[in-house]
Amino acid sequence: MMQKTVEDRLRSAMEKTAPDDIGDVFARIDAGKVVSIEPARASRKTRPGRLIAACFALLLLGGAGFSYQRTHAVSSVVSIDVNPSIELRVNAKERVLACTALNADAAEVLDEMDGGRDLKNAKLDVAVNALVGSLLRHGYLDSLSSSILISVEDDNAARGERLRQELADEVDGIVTQATVLTRAYTKNADLETRAKQSGVSTGKAAFAQEVRALNDALDFDALAALSVEELRGMAETGAPGMPIGRAQAERIAAKYAGAGDGIPREVESELDETPPHYEVEFEHPTLGEIEYRVHAYTGEVLSGERDALNAAPAAKPAADDAGAQKAVRAALKEAGFSASQVSDLTVKRDTEDGRGVYEVEFIADGVEYEVTVDAATGKVLEWEAEPADRPAGILDRDVGAQSAAKEALRKAGFSASQVSGLETDRDIEDGRSVYEVEFIADGVEYEVTIDAATGQVIGWEAEPVDRDDDEDDDENDANEDDRGEDDEDDEDDEDDD
C-alpha cells in the first residue's frame, strides 16, 4: 500500500473521531472548575497507603525530639524545595511570620526580598507566589527536568490539606515546565530533628523518608542532600540505589570530555528515564553545546564523545568566521543536537534575495539536515530534514569542489573567465553526495549537479536570470517576519519579565 494512502486515511479517521466540543469546554470554564482538573496532585498526596504507613512507622521510632519550633503564633510551616530550600512560618490567619533561607542557594533567591524580611506579614499565597516567581527568575524551574516540592506541616490536618490544595493551585498557575509536588502532613518532632541535622526543610526530609521507605538500605542524610528532582525520579522508579549525584556526574563527564574548569556546564538529572542518567552539557566557546550522559547509579558514561573538548573538532567551520560558528550553533540547537552527535557538518556562506545567509548541513541519526541561518542575526530562517538513506561518513572518495566546478564548466561549454557568480556547494541528493555548481553565463543561470565521488555530471538546470517565481514570495515573507527584530528564537527572552 502506498504511504500516502495510509497517511491520508489516518488523517481523515482522526478528523472524524477527534471530539469537537468547545461548548463543553466553555461550560467547564464557567463552572469554575478549572485548575481542579489535575488528578495527579490528588494522587500525589495520597501515596499508596503502604508507603505512608512505612514512613510513619519510621518516624515514630525516633522518640521525642525537640519542640523548639512550637512558637505559639505559628500554626503552619510551609516549605518550598527545589534545590534552594525555603521555609515559611505562618500564623492561623495565614500571614507569614518568618521566611527563612535554609541553604546558600535559597539565600541568593531571597536576596532581592531583603533576605525574606519583605515577606513578613504577607498573605501566604502572595508570599509563595513571590518566592516561586523569584525561583523562576533564577532559572530553577525552567526545564521539564526540574521539580518543586511544596510541603505544608500543620497539626490541624484539615487546614493543612486546604492550604496544600490552595498552594498547589497557585504554583501550578505559575510553573509551566517543572513538576509540582505537594504534600501535607502533621507535625512530627522527630522528623524536624532529622531535618535540622541534615540542614534541609522538614518537607524535604519527609520526602527523603518517602523515598527511603522504598529502599531502607539508603542513607537518610545522603538522600536529604539530593535535589527534589532526583528524589522524585527515585520515587517513581522504586529507588533502586543511591545515585552518584550531580557533582560526581559532572566530574566524570568533565574528565571524559577533557573539559577544563573554565568551560561552563549544566547538569540535569533524568533518574526516571531508562537507563537512569545525568545529562551533563558543556557550553564550549567554539564547539557549542556538547552533551554527555552518565549512568546515575554506576557512573558509566553512556553517550558523548571522549576528549571532544580536548581535540580539535572534525568539521570545524573556518576559524576566522565567527558568524559561521554562530550559525552552526544556531542550526544544531534548532535541530536538537550537540556538535558531538553530528557528522558531515558543512557550513557555507550564501546570498538569498540579497540577504547574507549561512547554509548549515549535517547528518545525525541517519537524517540529513539543511538549515538556513540569517548571517546578520544568527536566526534560523528555514530548514529541512530528510532521511539520509546511506551510512554517514562515506564522503572519503571525493573529487573536490574545484574539479567539480571544472567539470561543470566543461560540460556547459564555458571557460572560467566567461562565467560569473561561480559557486560550488556540497549537498546530498537521494542519499548521494554531490556538488551543486552554480554560475551565470550569457544571462543564463546554470545549476549543474556533480557526483562528488565520481566527478560525473548527474543533472543540470538552466534558466534565464531575473526570473520571478513563487519561491521568492516565500522568502519575502520570511523577510517581513524578521523585520520586527523579534527574538522569538532567542533564549534570553524569558528574562524580560
Binding site: D24, T176, V380
Partner: protein
C-alpha cells in the same frame, strides 16, 4: 487524498504567528480566541491524549482538561515561535499525570488500545481497521508520532513536545507508516482470501 504533505518540514511562520496571536488573546480570556485555537489544534491535542491514554473516552475528557489548562495558563506562554509544541507539552503533562494516577489506583496492567468512539457513524470500515487494529500493532511512541502528525502537528513540534531528537521522530514516523501500510495490506489480503 489530495493534500500532499511532505515529510520535510519548512518552518511555517504564518501558522506559528497565528497560534501565538491566539494564545495572547486566550491569555486575556478572549472566548472567540479559545474557540478558534480549539478549532485548529483540537485534533493534535486529542491525538496526544489518545496516544497516551489509549482510550477514546478518557482522551476526550483529557483533551478538555488541556483546553482548561490553556485557558488558565496561556499567559505563561512566552512567544518563542513554538506555540504548538507548548500546547502539546501541556497535553503531554496532563496525560502523564493521568497515567500516574491510573498506576496508583489500579494495577499496572496494560490498558487495551481503544481508538474508535462508540458513536462514530461516518467512520468507514477501512478507517476503523486502521484506527483500531493497525495502530494497535505499532509501538507506543511510533503510534504517538504518527497520530500527532496525522492530526496536523509538524515533526519539529512533535520533537519539541516529546523531547525527542527530530531525527528520532522522523525515523519513528517512517517506520510507523510503513508498518501501518503493511498491516492494512495484510488485513485486506486476508479478507480477499477468506471472502
Amino acid at each position: 487524498m489530495k493534500s500532499a504533505k511532505r515529510i520535510t518540514i519548512p518552518q511555517t511562520r504564518a501558522d506559528n504567528d497565528r497560534l501565538e496571536a491566539l494564545l495572547a488573546r486566550v491569555a486575556r480570556h478572549d472566548r472567540d480566541a479559545l474557540a478558534e485555537l480549539y478549532g485548529c489544534t483540537r485534533g493534535a491535542v486529542y491525538a496526544a491524549m489518545l496516544s497516551y491514554l489509549k482510550n477514546v473516552e478518557e482522551a476526550q475528557d483529557a483533551a478538555q482538561d488541556a483546553y482548561l489548562q490553556i485557558w488558565e495558563n496561556a499567559h505563561a506562554y512566552r512567544a518563542r515561535g513554538t506555540p504548538m509544541a507548548w500546547i502539546l507539552t501541556v497535553a503531554r503533562n496532563l496525560a502523564k499525570m493521568r497515567l500516574r494516577q491510573r498506576a496508583r489506583i489500579a494495577d499496572l496492567s496494560e490498558e487495551e488500545w481503544q481508538a474508535v468512539p462508540a458513536r462514530a457513524e461516518n467512520v468507514t470500515a477501512e478507517e476503523r481497521l486502521l484506527l483500531q487494529d493497525s495502530l494497535a500493532a505499532l509501538g507506543e511512541e511510533e503510534r504517538r508520532v504518527v497520530l500527532l502528525h496525522a492530526a496536523g502537528a509538524k515533526h519539529r513540534e512533535i520533537a519539541q513536545a516529546l523531547e525527542l531528537p527530530l531525527a528520532t521522530v522522523l525515523s519513528k514516523y517512517r517506520r510507523a507508516v510503513k508498518k501501518l501500510g503493511a498491516h492494512m495490506e495484510g488485513a485486506q489480503n486476508d479478507d480477499a482470501e477468506n471472502g
